[in-house]
């Protein structure tokens, strides 16, 4: 079973040289730490920055330089700053190659719910609805089951949706799965030490298993 770092490491393998990538808050943020050093990858922060660098050293924080999670950050050489309209303009125009974000639920046709739980205080969707509605390549990083032990990979989402038919791939502590265009979670890889049976038990949505499922390499 993977920990959060493991999930981040596995997702980092999906990133290709030359990609522009938008990382959501939580596990996706950790992915930045595992991008191979010899790869040119540019991180987009939707508050208006391309070329996001690591966190600043103590004493070097700049209140004018934050990421979409409101964290103090730095800029790498070749960065560009722009306003929020252009930021979401480039997202809508599909110039960002890969979007990685968390989710509360994903349905077998790629719907995602990650912004609202009825009865709880709603903080808002931020940029998530724009990202999932526009991105061509969306990977969800999440736990396979919620705290109550219920599967988050469902036939249909039960929570209010963030977007429809958009998730392409899911990486959890148990598995890597593709969301097929026709519907269904296709099991690609097992986490180290996890059996296909365990993944079956944790998946309520339609799970497609074909042939031998390899253990993932991280």
């Amino acid at each position: 079973m993977l920990d959060k770092t493991g999930i981040a490491k596995r997702i980092a393998k999906e990133i290709k040289d030359g990609y522009y990538v938008n990382l959501g808050i939580g596990i996706p943020t950790l992915v930045a730490n595992y991008i191979p050093a010899d790869m040119d990858v540019v991180l987009q922060s939707e508050n208006g920055l391309l070329g996001m660098g690591p966190f600043p050293f103590e004493g070097e924080e700049d209140a004018d330089l934050i990421n979409a999670g409101k964290q103090t950050i730095t800029m790498l050489p070749g960065s560009a700053i722009f306003d929020s309209a252009m930021s979401f303009g480039m997202i809508r125009a599909r110039k960002v190659n890969l979007t990685i974000l968390g989710a509360m639920e994903v349905s077998e046709n790629g719907d995602i719910a990650n912004w609202k739980i009825p009865g709880k205080m709603v903080k808002g969707m931020g940029g998530a609805m724009d990202l999932v509605a526009s991105a061509e390549n969306i990977i969800v990083a999440m736990q396979h089951v919620n705290k109550a032990g219920e599967s988050k990979l469902l036939p249909q989402c039960t929570l209010p949706l963030t977007g429809v038919n958009c998730v392409k791939k899911i990486v959890t502590e148990l598995a890597v799965l593709d969301v097929l265009p026709g519907g269904g979670f296709k099991l690609l890889e097992r986490a180290p030490g996890i059996s296909v049976e365990e993944i079956k038990n944790a998946t309520v949505g339609k799970l497609i298993i074909e042939g031998e499922i390899p253990e993932m390499e991280i």
Partner: protein, 239 residues
């Protein structure tokens, strides 16, 4: 053409009850701090505020919320604010949550004289309820309307007396798109200079969009999520 005002109190003198305000900033970054303080001091109420966030309890729009000056908040994300949550749950405050890109683009639409724009954000979700859906090349889009606000209140790094503005780093965020979108736009700047001191090629907001400008004071520039890297090992520590 005198756009220069002495301070925030003068610049916001005619902001009155029940008006709609666009307020620049993202989180606590790039906020028009002086104008918010002046609005709190003036005590106007029943405002509709359009801003990406609602500040925290004791900074940003949170200060206006604390004084019960806000009737309705239009934002994309409103976490990290206990008073906000209390007013919302008690029904004192009305909230409209909209996708961040939709928020930005509805500002741009106003500034570019476009009555409506199309965006796929929110298709198939509750955001789409009651809105026109239209298909282009097999993909569905929502038609979203340009904002119509009485005032846009923004913060820039430098400005000149003709209203030209330059922002700094990610404190740019919503400020340029909101600056274009107000019937009256008020800009507060860290440094106000004379015409000719800013490079025309580097202006982010041309002065034609800015009606009032003043040099702000005492910027606090609070950081919401101070996050730092592990300390650098000094050469001595390493050896």
């Amino acid at each position: 053409m005198n756009k220069v005002f002495k301070n925030a109190d003068d610049a916001i003198h005619d902001v009155t009850d029940r008006m709609t305000l666009l307020l620049g900033g993202f989180g606590l970054c790039g906020l028009p701090e002086n104008c918010i303080t002046a609005i709190v001091k003036k005590g106007v109420s029943e405002l509709t505020c359009i801003s990406n966030n609602a500040g925290v309890d004791d900074f940003g729009i949170g200060l206006m919320l604390k004084q019960r000056q806000v009737k309705k908040m239009i934002a994309s994300y409103v976490g990290e604010n206990a008073e906000f949550e209390r007013q919302l749950l008690s029904g004192e405050l009305e909230v409209e949550l909209i996708p961040q890109g939709t928020l930005a683009t509805r500002c741009m639409a106003a500034g570019y004289g476009m009555p409506a724009i199309f965006t796929p954000a929110g298709i198939g979700t509750e955001v789409a309820i009651g809105k026109e859906v239209r298909s282009f090349n097999g993909k569905d889009y929502l038609m979203e309307m340009a904002f119509d606000a009485d005032f846009a209140i923004v913060k820039a790094w430098k400005g000149d007396t003709m209203g030209n503005l330059i922002y700094r780093a990610t404190a740019r965020n919503f400020n340029p798109v909101m600056a274009m979108a107000g019937k009256i736009t008020i800009a507060e700047v860290e440094e106000l200079v004379e015409p000719g001191e800013l490079d025309p090629d580097q202006i982010h907001t041309p002065g034609i969009y800015v009606h009032r400008i003043f040099e702000g004071v005492d910027y606090e520039k609070r950081i919401e999520q101070r996050t730092v890297a592990p300390p650098k090992l000094s050469p001595e520590a390493r050896s």
